[in-house]
Symmetry: C2
Subunit: 203 residues, 2 copies
């Protein structure tokens, strides 16, 4: 039933500092389209959720053995998927401003375009999302006015919306990124994309 399939959707919860979110962001729209499932990009902040787990840094830095594995694994995944990758010099990056801009972009229909551009800046192009100039350049490259967009992104309503989204993610049981949700069913990690899409299609 194409009508039902077209009506189904998944939520893609992502954090710009997350390497595996980058890999997922690089494939999710194509995978969703192939499955006939709409993908809703939902930026949130992992920092406050990690802080509640007692972490003040990426778990991949806290445990360097796990971190070493992660970088090798991400490199392999990207190579297998044909996704560009260059290990960032700074990890994790400060992603608050980029997440606020992604919130604005989502409202205005350019969420995935900005999301992908910001992820690539971090994980393929050696840029630092913590730099305001980096974020402004990404906005400009998408044909938008950086000054106007940044002003909206730093308005109180957008700040509050991003906090609310983070709280919503946490309420859903999100503890890492990427996470895909279909209703209240969670799927953690890019390896669960197909499961999430199947769930959205009622399979």
């Amino acid at each position: 039933m194409p009508a039902t399939a077209a009506a189904s959707s998944i939520d893609f919860w992502f954090e710009f500092a997350s390497s595996y979110s980058y890999v997922a962001a690089s494939v999710i729209d194509a995978r969703g389209a192939a499955a006939g499932v709409a993908v809703r990009w939902r930026p949130f902040l992992l920092g406050p959720i990690f802080a509640r787990q007692g972490w003040r840094d990426s778990p991949f830095n806290i445990n360097p053995v796990k971190g070493r594995y992660m970088w090798r694994d991400v490199e392999r995944r990207c190579a297998a998927l044909g996704v560009p990758f260059a290990r960032p010099t700074r990890f994790p990056q400060h992603t608050l401003l980029a997440a606020r801009v992604a919130t604005v972009a989502g409202d205005e229909g350019w969420g995935p375009a900005f999301g992908l551009a910001a992820f690539r800046a971090n994980f393929a192009e050696g840029c630092d999302l913590g730099e305001r100039a980096t974020v402004a350049a990404l906005i400009a490259a998408l044909g938008r006015d950086p000054h106007a967009v940044l002003a909206r992104a730093e308005g109180e309503d957008v700040k509050a919306r991003l906090r609310d989204e983070t709280a919503r993610a946490e309420a859903l049981g999100v503890f890492g990124a990427p996470t895909f949700t279909v209703g209240d069913e969670l799927f953690w990690g890019g390896d669960r994309i197909d499961d999430a899409l199947d769930r959205a299609r009622g399979l």
Copy 2:
């Protein structure tokens, strides 16, 4: 080249307390056979490796939100794969004796049979591997003499071998289970089985 494929192998590092090791153990021999890759079952202890990460309990207990997700995810994986599953009443279980017996079983050619039986006892049959009687019954059900096997399992050489295997896992960069290794290339988690098998086949 079937000759090359048949000669290739992967090491399957598992811990009987690990839920995702159970899922992997349930499918790995069939997946290896289908790929023409031999699978070497290598029991080790995750406890000492977790302790070095500062954990004295399963990360799924330390973080109950992640734990809740894990149980739901394992339940879904098992349902999808047709693998029996019943959430253990005790988690994690004390697996030292079972790992020692698995070491003996590996020497004597019944490693996978014991491994699978012990995993099922823990994650499908409501048994506690921390009970000596449980382990003895598993040995007996495989047509072996529990008294003789347990005596070998608790000999100094087997105790030392299991310690050495755990040290070898750690030296390879193992930080969780299941992990698959092909030479010094690591693949963490059941979602990387196909990648590990491809690597073993030189793909």
